[in-house]
Symmetry: C2
Subunit: 349 residues, 2 copies
């Protein structure tokens, strides 16, 4: 690990709490992944699910992008479906999650187990302990979980989908059963996230990848309460909490009150608009379009500068993409991005 990040003590954590920083911290969603040759090398020897369950390897791929780019935060290499297996749900990855028996009946829902916090996916805690030993203290590790509504979508639909029409029709046709699923998921995610902090995670992120399927009224009725409950339950852990309502442009007025320290913003909503809605006490994380990394360097530069300008001069911005990095991205473009953000966001404190 280079020493150049030493001294930039917890830039990321400071930004999460809207404290002024000498420059804008940066990390990238899905920074440990297929666009990196060193990741593909490991994946050529082990399948995705085994990789997430082998602490030494999961720790190694978590550290790869931090070493290569000197990112300001690491994020646990895992999958949002990982803690759901502990509830008794059988699945495989090909490449996205495929649920063997999609949830559709009261019996199936009744049978969903709520494992003890420490028992659920213990390999994740072990992974985090390894990472915690390896990471410099200036680079915090972000633990994460899927938001209950997003997990609900996969569990009821049976896998990924463009419209999640099975999951949504179930949600509307069976609101009572849906709430039971959502409540069980909420309880499990609270324990799962707690265990990550106990193992050494320094921040937590909740991914609500599919919440853009909901109008604000349905968000308030079904998805938002579970997010609030998770955040409230984790408040005592004293780590920053990031909530990412993907494609949530029309939900931000509600999201504002969920209690998160940081709100992740996809590329569709400009950061200045997000800041206006969220107010000065919530940090924003985002939001370069991941596909901007395929543009010419000149174009990419101006897009990076646009994101910094939209974020404004105030504290409380963590640079990131507006969604996960594409697997065909050139890693050199990521290095270029990181350098540009470092250079352009210097502040005199």
């Amino acid at each position: 690990m280079s020493t150049s990040t030493i001294g930039a003590e917890s830039l990321f954590i400071s930004a999460c709490y809207c404290k002024p920083t000498q420059r804008t911290p940066i990390w990238i969603m899905r920074q440990a992944g297929r666009y990196l040759p060193e990741y593909r090398k490991i994946r050529s020897q082990v399948d995705f699910l085994s990789l997430t369950k082998t602490p030494e390897l999961a720790a190694e791929v978590t550290l790869q992008p931090v070493r290569r780019f000197e990112m300001d935060a690491a994020i646990l290499f895992s999958d949002i479906m990982t803690p759901v297996e502990g509830m008794g749900v059988e699945m495989e990855f090909s490449p996205g999650p495929v649920i063997k028996n999609p949830l559709r009946t009261a019996e199936q829902i009744e049978e969903l187990r709520i494992p003890e916090s420490g028992e659920n996916a213990p390999f994740v805690a072990e992974t985090i302990r390894i990472i915690d030993r390896e990471l410099p203290s200036s680079v915090p590790l972000i633990g994460f979980a899927g938001a209950p509504f997003t997990l609900f979508c996969y569990l009821v639909e049976g896998g990924g989908s463009k419209t999640f029409s099975q999951a949504k029709s179930f949600l509307f046709a069976e609101p009572r059963l849906s709430r039971i699923i959502l409540e069980k998921l909420t309880e499990v995610m609270i324990g799962y996230l707690e265990a990550q902090v106990q193992a050494g995670a320094k921040a937590l992120m909740i991914f609500d990848s599919w919440v853009g399927l909901l109008a604000d009224t349905d968000y308030k009725a079904f998805a938002y309460p579970s997010v609030c409950r998770i955040i409230e339950s984790l408040d005592h852990l004293d780590v920053p909490l990031i909530y990412f309502p993907n494609q949530g442009a029309t939900l931000l007025g509600t999201v504002k009150n969920c209690g998160a320290d940081v709100v992740g913003v996809d590329w569709r909503t400009s950061l200045s608009v997000a800041r206006n809605v969220l107010g000065p006490d919530i940090a924003v994380q985002g939001n370069l379009d991941p596909m901007a990394l395929f543009a010419s360097k000149e174009d990419l530069e101006s897009r990076i500068d646009d994101v910094l300008r939209e974020a404004g001069e105030e504290a409380g911005h963590i640079f990131n993409l507006g969604h996960g990095i594409d697997k065909n991205t050139d890693p050199d473009r990521v290095a270029f991005l990181v350098d540009r953000v470092r250079e352009r966001s210097q502040r005199n404190l």
Copy 2:
């Protein structure tokens, strides 16, 4: 055809132009489709592509939902990819469009033909002429086309996709070539839409199904100019123009100026918010979540009333779903919806 719609002369057209109407007109995106047993009966004998190209059958399925529900408008049964075949693009449907040779090179783009307006998909004009003879005068036929950016997405990606990452990376990596594709598509769509009006279409709708992939700056750079050009070029036809920027919550401030008489709104943006952005001179069309048709009748009722309330008392609302109807929808729920909208939107003029 029942005579009960006679006398409600062009409720739909009046609403498009923001003129007061006795009640809110209603039609439903994808109203001619798989949720109807009479449609499935025809489809059991003919594949999708042949159905779109056989005027008698395409006219018949266009008329089916108008007969069954007494909808206030008919919409041509066709596919947004239909006019693209005339440009020399080979495709099949399984069930969505699959492009044999996705556009990636300057040579391929150079070879895209611009057919004469009347020559392109002549079976569509014939379909419209049949429908025009069969429909009562109070029920206008809506012709349609895909917006150039949305067609670009399919042509470059090679088919449907959750992220259209090939199409978007091409857009950003090759903006010059992308603009050539978009301009050719624009020219072809203008001729195609003109031909529909000449054949008897009484309104036109432009579907920008994938424009929600773009941030507003990229929308302005790539998608919006072609929409404006189409609308401007069709102004002389003197039929209402509806533009549907699907998932375009963050684009409405730009969409406002595109020249459309009506803007379609998906279910994520409330109609009151859309009206506030679009102003009093643009009608809105939408926006019940299609999945609301799976809710209990009580819940569906209250959701319908919510849409009407959000649309407000002013003129210029066409009731519709916020996206195409799901194939598993119960037709009786559609009848219930149509009745409820009729009953609840009565006005004393």
